[in-house]
C-alpha cells in the first residue's frame, strides 16, 4: 500500500469510528505506531508519519512527542520532509517550547538555500512562531533578504521583518533603510509587505514616523495609480484594483497624517478622489471607502471632506447589506461626539435600524441613538426608544433602560413627561432596571409637588393591573402610602380620576403583601404604605390595625419587626402616630446614584462599577436606621442622634426614622446629616445662623454661620458670646472676619458649651462688623436652641 494512502486511510478510519471511545482507540493505536516509527532510523516514512500526527493533533489529542521529529525533519535535505517539518513546527512548537530554539540553525541555513521555496518555508515559519531570541539571531539575514532577492522572497522577508519588529521593537531601526527603498517596487506583493512594514515601524517609533512623512507624496502617487488605473486582471476584485493594497496604503497615510498639517494637506485631494471614484456596490469597494472614511476622520482634513465622509457613512446606512450598515454605525459612534450635527442628519435612518432583525445591528443602533439624544429631539427619539424597549432582545434591555433613564434625566422637557417616561419603562421592562431606579423615581416624584395627584392615580391604576414588576410595585406602594389622601379624594386635574374607596386601596396593598410574587423589600414597602394610610383615611383604621398585628408574627424578620413597631405605634405611642406618619418633605437630590448621569452613550462596562458601589452602599443604611428605630421605641425618650434629619421640628429626626421604607429609599441617596439650624440675627443684609450639634450628655457644639447678601463685603466681623454662670463656654477661632458680598461666602465660628448642671440654656451673642463704612454692633439673645432642650 503506498504511504500516501495510509494517511488518508487513517483519516477515513478515524472518521468511521462510531463512538468517541472507538475513535480514541484508533488514535491510540496509530500514535503508538507513529512513536515506534519515530524511534527507528530514517526509512522514508517520517514525513507521512508526522502528517498523521498533525491530523491527530487537530482533532485535539496530545502530540508533543512529535516536536523532536519536527526538528529532525526540518534539518533534512529533502524538500518534502522539510515542508512537513516546518508545518509541524508551526503547529506544535511555539516559543514556549524549548525545542523551538533547536530549529534556529536550520532556519538560518535554509534562509540562504538555493531554492526559493525552501527559503520561503523558513521565512514563513520564522514569521509565524519566531521567538525573540530567534528573531534577534536572524534579523540580519532578513535584512539581507529584504535588499537583495527576488520579489517572491522580498515580500515574505518584509512580513517576517514585521513579526521581528513586533517581537523585538528595537530591531526596527535595522529595517528602516531597506523598507524605504522597497516603496519603489512595482510588484504588488512586495509593495504590500513594504507598506505593512513601514506602518509597523511608524507605529512604534515617532522618529521613524517623522522620517516616513517624506514618503507621503510617493504613497499618494501609488494610490492614485491604483485608483485611476484601468482594469488589471491580476489584482482586480469586483472592479477595485487590489483593495488589500489600497486599504493598507490608506491606513499608512492615516498614521502619517495624524496631527500633522502638511501631510494631511497632501492627501486631501487623494482622499476626495478615492471617495468619489470607488464603486461601493460590492464588499471590496466598501472596504476601501470605509478605510477612506476612517482616514478622513482621523487626520486634519478640511471640513468639506469631513462632510463627504459622514455622507458616505450615511449612504452606508441605507445599504441593503447588513454588514455595511453595522460598520457604518460603528464609525458613526466614534465620531458622534466630534461631528455631532453631521451625524444628527442621519438620525432617522439610525432609528430605523433599531427595527433591524440582526442583534448586532440593533445593539449598534441603540448605542448610537442614545448618543444622539439632545434637548431638541428628546420627545420623538424617546418614543422610538420606548417602542424599541417593548420588542428588544433580553440582553439589551438593561442597557436600554439605563440609557433611557440617563437621557430622560438630562433632557426631560417637563417633570410630568419625565415621570411618565419612567413609569412607561417600568411597566415595559421593570425587571431589567437598576436598583437605584426606585429611590430615584421616588425622589423625582416628591419634587414634582403639583403632580402628586396625577402620579398617585397613575400608579394606582398600574398597581391594580399588574403586581409582578417589583420596582413598579414598590414605587406605587410608596406613593399610595404617601399620597393616599389625594387618591381617595377622587379629583384630579391632569388625568381621569379613579373613584376608589378606602377598602379598594387597602385591598390592593394587601394583595401585594400576600402575593408570592412580591419580594421581601416590596412587602416592606406595602406594609409601611398600609401603616401610613392609617392617618390618611378615616373609616378603616381598624382594618389597618388588624393587618399590622397579623404581620407581627410573620416569618420574615424585617416585616415582623416593622409590624411589631407599627403595632406599638398604635398602642403605646398613638399620640405620636400622626406626626410620625405625616407627609415627607421634598427629598434632597445629592445622591451618588446620580453618577449614572454620564454620557448617555456609555457602554455597559462603565455602568457596572457604579452599580456595584451602590449595592455595597445600600446594606449599611438600613442597619443604621433600624438602630434608630430601636432607639425610638427603646423607651429612653431620648431622640436619636441627628442622622438623616430633614426638618427642623423637634420630631424631625423621628419622622424620618419611623418609616423603614423611607430609609431603604434613602439608602440609595446620600443624605448628609444636617444638624438643625435657626436664624438668630438678620439685619443690614447680614444673616447669622446658629446650628447645634449635641455630642454628649452635657456638651454641645454650636456653629455660628454669618452670610452677607449686600453688594459690598462686610469686614471686621467679630462675635462674642455670653452664657449663664454654670455653663462653660469655649470659643474657637473664627474662619475669618470678612464676609464676601452677594452671599458668595460665609464666616463660621464654633462655640463649645458644657452644661454639667443641666440648667436651662440661654446665650447672648454680640455681633460687631463694618458694613459700607459704618460700624454696627448688635446684641442677640437666644433663649431656645433648635435641638431638644435639656
Amino acid at each position: 500500500m503506498s504511504p500516501s494512502v495510509r494517511l488518508q486511510e487513517m483519516i477515513r478510519v478515524i472518521r468511521g469510528a462510531r463512538t468517541q471511545g472507538e475513535e480514541r482507540g484508533v488514535i491510540q493505536r496509530e500514535c503508538a505506531a507513529i512513536r515506534a516509527q519515530f524511534r527507528q532510523a530514517d526509512n522514508g516514512t517520517r514525513s507521512h508519519n508526522l502528517a498523521k500526527l498533525l491530523y491527530v493533533h487537530m482533532l485535539g489529542y496530545p502530540a508533543h512527542f512529535g516536536q523532536m521529529e519536527c526538528v529532525r525533519l526540518i534539518a533534512s535535505p529533502r524538500y518534502n520532509e522539510k515542508r512537513v517539518g516546518y508545518l509541524g513546527a508551526m503547529m506544535l512548537l511555539d516559543e514556549k517550547q524549548d525545542a523551538s530554539l533547536l530549529i534556529t540553525n536550520s532556519i538560518k541555513n535554509d534562509l540562504s538555500h538555493s531554492s526559493q521555496y525552501v527559503q520561503s518555508l523558513a521565512l514563513c515559519t520564522l514569521g509565524c512562531m519566531g521567538s525573540a531570541e530567534m528573531c534577534r539571531d536572524l534579523a540580519p539575514e532578513i535584512d539581507r533578504l529584504l535588499r537583495a532577492s527576488n520579489s517572491y522572497i522580498k515580500k515574505k522577508a518584509a512580513l517576517c521583518a514585521v513579526h521581528i519588529v513586533r517581537k523585538v521593537p528595537e530591531l526596527g531601526e535595522l529595517f528602516t533603510p531597506a523598507s524605504r527603498s522597497l516603496l519603489s517596487e512595482k510588484n504588488h506583493g512586495v509593495l504590500h509587505g513594504a507598506v505593512v512594514l513601514i506602518t509597523e515601524l511608524c507605529e512604534r517609533n515617532p522618529e521613524t514616523l517623522e522620517q516616513f512623512r517624506k514618503a507621503v507624496p510617493e504613497l499618494v502617487q501609488i494610490m492614485k495609480g491604483l485608483v485611476m488605473s484601468g482594469y488589471s486582471p491580476e489584482h482586480n476584485v469586483a472592479g477595485i484594483s487590489d483593495p488589500f493594497l489600497q486599504v493598507r496604503i490608506l491606513r499608512l497615510l492615516r498614521i502619517l497624517g495624524r496631527n500633522n498639517e502638511t501631510a494631511s494637506d497632501a492627501v486631501n485631494d487623494l482622499l476626495a478622489q478615492v471617495a468619489t471614484n470607488t464603486d461601493s456596490s460590492k464588499t471590496a469597494g466598501s472596504a476601501v471607502l470605509y478605510e477612506t472614511v476612517l482616514t478622513v476622520m482621523d487626520i486634519k482634513s478640511e471640513s468639506g471632506l469631513r462632510v463627504l465622509a459622514v455622507n458616505i457613512l450615511g449612504r452606508f446606512l441605507l445599504n441593503n447589506d447588513r454588514n455595511i450598515r453595522y460598520i457604518s454605525m460603528t464609525s458613526l459612534q466614534k465620531i458622534v461626539q466630534t461631528d455631532h450635527n453631521a451625524v444628527q442628519r442621519h438620525r432617522g435612518t439610525i432609528v430605523d435600524c433599531l427595527k433591524d432583525q440582526d442583534a448586532s445591528v440593533k445593539r449598534r443602533a441603540l448605542e448610537l441613538s442614545l448618543a444622539l439624544v439632545s434637548a431638541v429631539n428628546i420627545r420623538s427619539l424617546m418614543k422610538e426608544l420606548l417602542l424599541f424597549l417593548s420588542s428588544c432582545p433580553p440582553e439589551l434591555r438593561a442597557h436600554t433602560t439605563s440609557g433611557i433613564f440617563n437621557a430622560a434625566e438630562r433632557y426631560a422637557p417637563s417633570q410630568r413627561w419625565h415621570i411618565d417616561t419612567i413609569l412607561h419603562v417600568l411597566t415595559t421592562a421593570g425587571g431589567d432596571v437598576r436598583d437605584e431606579t426606585v429611590p430615584n423615581l421616588i425622589q423625582l416624584i416628591t419634587t414634582a409637588t403639583e403632580l402628586h395627584c396625577y402620579t398617585v392615580h397613575k400608579l394606582y391604576r398600574a398597581l391594580i393591573a399588574d403586581i409582578s414588576v417589583q420596582s413598579l410595585v414598590q414605587v406605587a406602594c410608596w406613593c399610595i402610602g404617601e399620597y393616599g389622601d389625594l387618591l381617595l379624594r377622587g379629583e384630579c386635574e391632569e388625568t381621569e380620576p379613579v373613584q376608589v374607596a378606602e377598602d379598594d386601596v387597602l385591598d390592593a396593598l394587601e394583595t401585594v403583601l400576600q402575593s408570592h410574587m412580591s419580594s421581601p423589600a416590596t412587602r416592606g414597602f406595602a406594609l409601611t404604605a398600609t401603616m401610613k394610610l392609617s392617618t390618611r383615611i378615616t373609616h378603616n383604621v381598624d382594618r389597618i390595625r388588624s393587618i399590622v398585628s397579623i404581620y407581627g408574627s410573620c416569618i420574615d424578620v424585617e416585616l415582623q419587626q416593622r409590624a411589631v413597631e407599627y403595632n406599638a405605634l398604635f398602642k403605646k405611642y398613638d399620640h405620636m402616630r400622626a406626626a410620625v406618619l405625616e407627609r415627607m418633605p421634598v427629598i434632597d437630590k445629592s445622591s451618588p446614584g446620580h453618577t449614572n448621569g454620564e454620557s448617555a452613550g456609555g457602554s455597559i462596562k462603565e455602568m457596572e462599577p457604579t452599580k456595584r458601589t451602590q449595592e455595597v452602599a445600600l446594606p449599611q443604611e438600613p442597619a443604621n436606621q433600624v438602630c434608630d428605630l430601636l432607639d425610638l421605641l427603646g423607651g429612653s425618650g431620648e431622640p436619636p442622634q441627628p442622622s438623616p434629619a430633614l426638618s427642623t421640628t423637634a420630631l424631625g429626626p423621628v419622622s424620618s426614622t419611623a418609616g423603614g421604607d423611607l430609609l431603604d429609599l434613602l439608602g440609595g441617596l446620600d443624605v448628609t446629616p444636617v444638624p438643625p439650624s435657626v436664624i438668630v440675627y438678620e439685619k443690614n443684609g447680614v444673616t447669622l445662623k446658629l446650628q447645634t450639634d449635641r455630642q454628649t450628655d452635657t456638651g454641645m457644639t454650636i456653629t455660628l454661620t454669618a452670610t452677607n447678601s449686600t453688594d459690598r463685603e462686610i469686614t471686621s466681623l467679630t462675635l462674642q458670646a455670653a452664657v449663664p454662670k454654670s455653663v462653660q463656654l469655649q470659643m474657637k477661632a473664627p474662619s475669618g472676619d470678612v464676609i464676601p458680598a452677594h452671599g458668595l461666602g460665609q464666616v463660621t465660628q464654633t462655640v463649645l458649651l458644657n452644661n454639667p448642671n443641666k440648667v436651662s440654656l440661654k446665650m447672648r451673642v454680640r455681633v460687631c462688623y463694618t458694613s459700607q463704612d459704618f460700624v454696627c454692633q448688635d446684641t442677640v439673645q437666644i433663649d431656645s436652641f433648635p435641638s431638644p432642650a435639656w
Partner: protein, 192 residues
C-alpha cells in the same frame, strides 16, 4: 401565619445558554500579549457540527487557551441566525466569520482592523482553495489538510496578506508541489 417566599422575582431569562457577546473579563493571555499587536490573532475553519478542520494561530498561546477559544468561537458562531451580520464582538477582539457551504471560516482581529477587508480576505482564501482543488468541498480539506495549510502559508504570513494576486499564489503552490513531486520521483517514494 407562614409565608412562602418566592426564590426570585420573575424576570425574563434568555432561553439559550450563550457565550455572551460582550464579556467583561479579559482573558489574561490577551493582556500578556498586547505588546505583540498582531492584527489577526487566529483563523479557524470548522464544520456545522463544530469539528475543527483547520487552525492557524498568529500569537503564541498555551494549548488549553487555544482549545477554549476554539470552543467559544464555535459556540458563538454556530448560534448565529442565517441572515445575521458577519461581525461579532468577543472580549476585545472583532470576530469576522463567513459560512461557505458546510464550513465556517472565522478569524479574530484586533479592534482597529477593517472588518470588510477581513471578509474579502476570507473570500480570497476560499477562492484559492477552490482553484487548487477544483470545486472545493469540506472533504477535500479534511483529507488534504496539509495542502490547505500550504496554500494558506502562501497567502498569509504572520497574520498579514503576503500576496494580493491570486495567480501568483496559485503558481507558487503549484511550483512547490512540483518540487515535492520531483523529489518524490527522485526518491521513488510518495510524500504521504
Amino acid at each position: 401565619m407562614l409565608f412562602i417566599y418566592p426564590s426570585l422575582c420573575p424576570t425574563v431569562r434568555p432561553t439559550m445558554p450563550q457565550v455572551p457577546e460582550i464579556s467583561m473579563a479579559l482573558l489574561p493571555f490577551i493582556n500578556n500579549y498586547t505588546h505583540l499587536q498582531c492584527k489577526m490573532r487566529f483563523l479557524l475553519l470548522f464544520s456545522r457540527q463544530g469539528k475543527l478542520r483547520l487552525q492557524k494561530w498568529f500569537t503564541p498561546i498555551p494549548e488549553r487557551e487555544k482549545k477554549k477559544i476554539t470552543r467559544d468561537m464555535t459556540t458563538m458562531v454556530l448560534a448565529r441566525k442565517p441572515r445575521s451580520c458577519n461581525f461579532l464582538h468577543w472580549k476585545d477582539l472583532k470576530i469576522v466569520y463567513k459560512r461557505y457551504a458546510s464550513l465556517y471560516f472565522c478569524c479574530g482581529l484586533d479592534a482597529e482592523e477593517n472588518e470588510l477587508l477581513a471578509l474579502e480576505m476570507l473570500h480570497r482564501y476560499v477562492e484559492l482553495l477552490d482553484k487548487y482543488f477544483g470545486n472545493v468541498c469540506e472533504l477535500d480539506i479534511i483529507f488534504n489538510f496539509e495542502k490547505a495549510y500550504f496554500i494558506l502559508d502562501e497567502f498569509l504570513l504572520g497574520g498579514e496578506v503576503q500576496e494580493t494576486s491570486k495567480l501568483v499564489v496559485a503558481r507558487s503552490v503549484e511550483a512547490s508541489d512540483m518540487l515535492q513531486e520531483t523529489m518524490e520521483e527522485y526518491m521513488s517514494k510518495p510524500a504521504f
